[in-house]
């Protein structure tokens, strides 16, 4: 037998053993002792030594736990804690019943197609397969015209996604410094992923854009080693949204041009003299420099009337542009 065949066969034998162990523990009405488990499972029974069995069983049990199976340890006799056994409680293991209506099954039917990122796409399909196994029948036909997609192209994405889910503290390079972070949440906005969490050195909430993470993401602690604060506090949207628009500009806009800008404000009366065909709008904004750059993009179709500071910012921005070689 060639080596690859041999390896494949070993993997098959192992899957078979783990599967039978899982079923055996699930069927247990009480904690099963190791020696009982060895007796009923053929692969364990055929092992030469007690030692080989112990080693294999310990490893198998841990692997089941890693897969998420709730393997419990305990004793059937409260007076004798030496007789340690194992079981899986059905209620802890089984997916609770979920009823979906037709509209929900239609959106679940679209869900399988959403992720372009390979890991999350596979995980979504596994989750949907479990729903099918529980009797739900996602219907991909009804919303066929809806094709959302979501990617995680950033090199740091997979590692950070896992860290947020498993609550693992991380270390990474950002703006040429090493950061240590408890990642609390991860958000996709404007086509980019952001992580929000506790900067462990500064002991403050911080947002990092994943595309700017300069190194591999290193795990520096155990899974579940912290608890994120309440969702209200960890809502990073407030942190990555534009600053509060607390200033007011009056702009003259040519005819029906720049609809995206006009939509942000409202038509106002003004004493200033407007160029022919222009209408005055009041629009809220946050920073002179940023808004001036945005206004400049529209050329002479937008003229700032007020305030003076914004008007000057536009003039300075254009004059400096004319100096570009």
């Amino acid at each position: 037998m060639s080596l690859p065949d041999n390896l494949a066969q070993m993997a098959t034998r192992k899957s078979e053993r783990l599967m039978n162990l899982a079923i055996c523990l699930l069927m247990a009405r009480r904690f099963l002792l190791k020696k009982e488990i060895r007796q009923v499972l053929e692969q364990y029974r055929l092992l030469d030594s007690e030692q080989a069995f112990e080693k294999m069983f310990e490893r198998d049990k841990e692997e089941l736990r890693q897969m998420g199976l709730p393997v419990e340890t305990g004793s059937n006799d409260p007076w004798n804690q030496n007789e340690i056994g194992y079981r899986i409680l059905r209620g802890d293991f089984e997916l609770p019943p979920i009823d979906f209506d037709a509209a929900e099954l239609a959106v679940l039917g679209v869900a399988a197609q959403v992720w372009d990122a390979a890991t999350q796409a596979d995980q979504t399909k596994l989750a949907l397969a479990k729903l099918r196994a529980a009797g739900a029948d996602p219907d991909p036909g009804r919303l066929a015209a809806l094709t959302p997609s979501l990617d995680g192209k950033e090199a740091a994405f997979d590692a950070m996604w896992q860290a947020v889910i498993a609550r693992i503290p991380v270390e990474f390079g950002y703006h040429e410094k090493t950061r240590q972070l408890q990642p609390w949440s991860i958000t996709h906005r404007h086509g980019a992923w952001y992580v929000y969490g506790l900067d462990m050195e500064k002991q403050q909430g911080r947002v990092y854009k994943l595309s700017r993470v300069e190194t591999d993401v290193k795990y520096i602690g155990k899974p579940g080693s912290y608890f994120p604060e309440t969702p209200e506090k960890t809502n990073l949207l407030t942190l990555i949204q534009p600053a509060m628009a607390d200033q007011e500009a009056i702009l003259a806009i040519d005819g029906d041009e720049i609809p995206m800008l006009r939509r942000r404000g409202e038509v106002v009366e003004t004493d200033s003299e407007l160029p022919p065909g222009y209408t005055a709008y009041r629009i809220d904004y946050s920073s002179d420099v940023t808004f001036a750059a945005e206004i400049c993009a529209h050329g002479a179709a937008v003229i700032v009337l007020e305030p003076e500071s914004l008007r000057n910012a536009v003039i300075t921005h254009l004059q400096k542009f004319l100096e570009v070689e």
């Binding site: 069927m27 479990k130 959302p148 889910i165 029906d256 939509r263 003039i315």
Partner: protein
């Protein structure tokens, strides 16, 4: 393929096959996102699994003759009738996918996505804090577009194209709604122009459903981040900017980005000179070099005209 991944799958496959009784090999493989060969391998493992004891009658039963014709007939798994709970990774991936749908669906389907998401969250002890957002116009607008797609009607859009300064009112046959890089888009057939068009949802101001039935334009071309490449009149521009405006490399699709000691060199496809004009004016003196001298000259001309409107110079 690790044993862990296989066992995780088997724990879902058994209750699924038990539930349906008779299943198609190809369809089942697709549901579990494995090849048919891998699925056959899974079934081979299951032949030796079952109730402890391992006696004949304790094991799962798979009809081998039916399997040869591509049909799985599965039985004797009453004791494993329900799948395992979701792992945190599975739950998060599915829940986030539903969020992405809710962001661009019509009013009814958005509500359905959110209620499904809550039901899934309720099965978990804890849920990771993950959120996705898309700029995709209003749900009323999406409801109108999806209704038009369903009823196969043309629509008249009031649209603010990036390349025009005002709005246009194209009549198009809507086909599907999609997202790319955080924005929602409508893909539609234009019989006026005899071509496929893409409209950004947050730039659509109004949707009027017409009485005009669509002519069933067929399957639209795939819309990926390279769609700009399909525009025949696009030209490549090389733009060197200072580090302060490096964000444009994340904001606009670039063919290449190259770091310089104090900035960036971007290569990008530009389909509309007016768009480039606006970008240069916005970047101002952060622009260091433009490969196309005419583009820079034209933006400077706009700057002069604008300054004269402020009556300075």
């Amino acid at each position: 393929m690790t044993s862990n991944a296989q066992v995780t799958r088997l724990l879902a496959l058994v209750p699924y096959l038990q539930k349906v009784g008779v299943a198609d090999l190809g369809e089942t493989a697709a549901f579990f996102s494995v090849t048919k060969k891998q699925l056959l391998n899974d079934l081979n493992v299951l032949l030796f699994c079952g109730l402890p004891g391992g006696f004949f009658g304790d094991l799962f039963e798979i009809d081998q003759e039916a399997l040869e014709t591509g049909t799985i007939v599965f039985s004797n798994a009453d004791f494993l009738a329900r799948p395992m709970r979701f792992t945190p990774d599975e739950a998060s991936s599915l829940i986030v996918a539903l969020q992405a749908i809710a962001e661009i669906a019509d009013t009814e389907s958005s509500a359905a996505a959110r209620s499904a998401l809550h039901k899934l969250t309720a099965t978990q002890n804890s849920s990771a804090q993950i959120a996705v957002h898309a700029q995709a116009g209003t749900s009323d607008l999406r409801t109108a577009l999806l209704a038009a797609i369903r009823e196969k009607r043309s629509v008249q859009l009031t649209y603010a194209a990036a390349s025009h300064t005002g709005t246009t009112t194209p009549i198009v046959e809507p086909v599907r709604i999609l997202t790319r890089d955080g924005f929602g888009y409508l893909q539609a057939w234009s019989s006026q122009r005899d071509s496929w068009r893409v409209y950004r949802l947050d730039r659509i101001f109004e949707v009027a459903i017409t009485d005009e039935p669509t002519c069933d334009p067929g399957e639209p071309p795939p819309f990926d981040s390279g769609w700009l490449e399909q525009l025949t009149d696009a030209v490549e521009i090389e733009l060197e900017v200072s580090a302060a405006v490096g964000w444009i490399g994340e904001y606009y699709p670039m063919r290449s980005s190259e770091r310089t000691p104090d900035g960036w060199i971007f290569r990008m496809l530009v389909a509309d000179p007016r768009w480039l004009n606006g970008l240069l004016l916005r970047l101002g003196d952060q622009v260091k070099r433009v490969s196309n001298p005419a583009a820079l000259a034209s933006a400077k001309q706009s700057a002069r005209e604008t300054l004269s409107a402020y009556q300075v110079r």
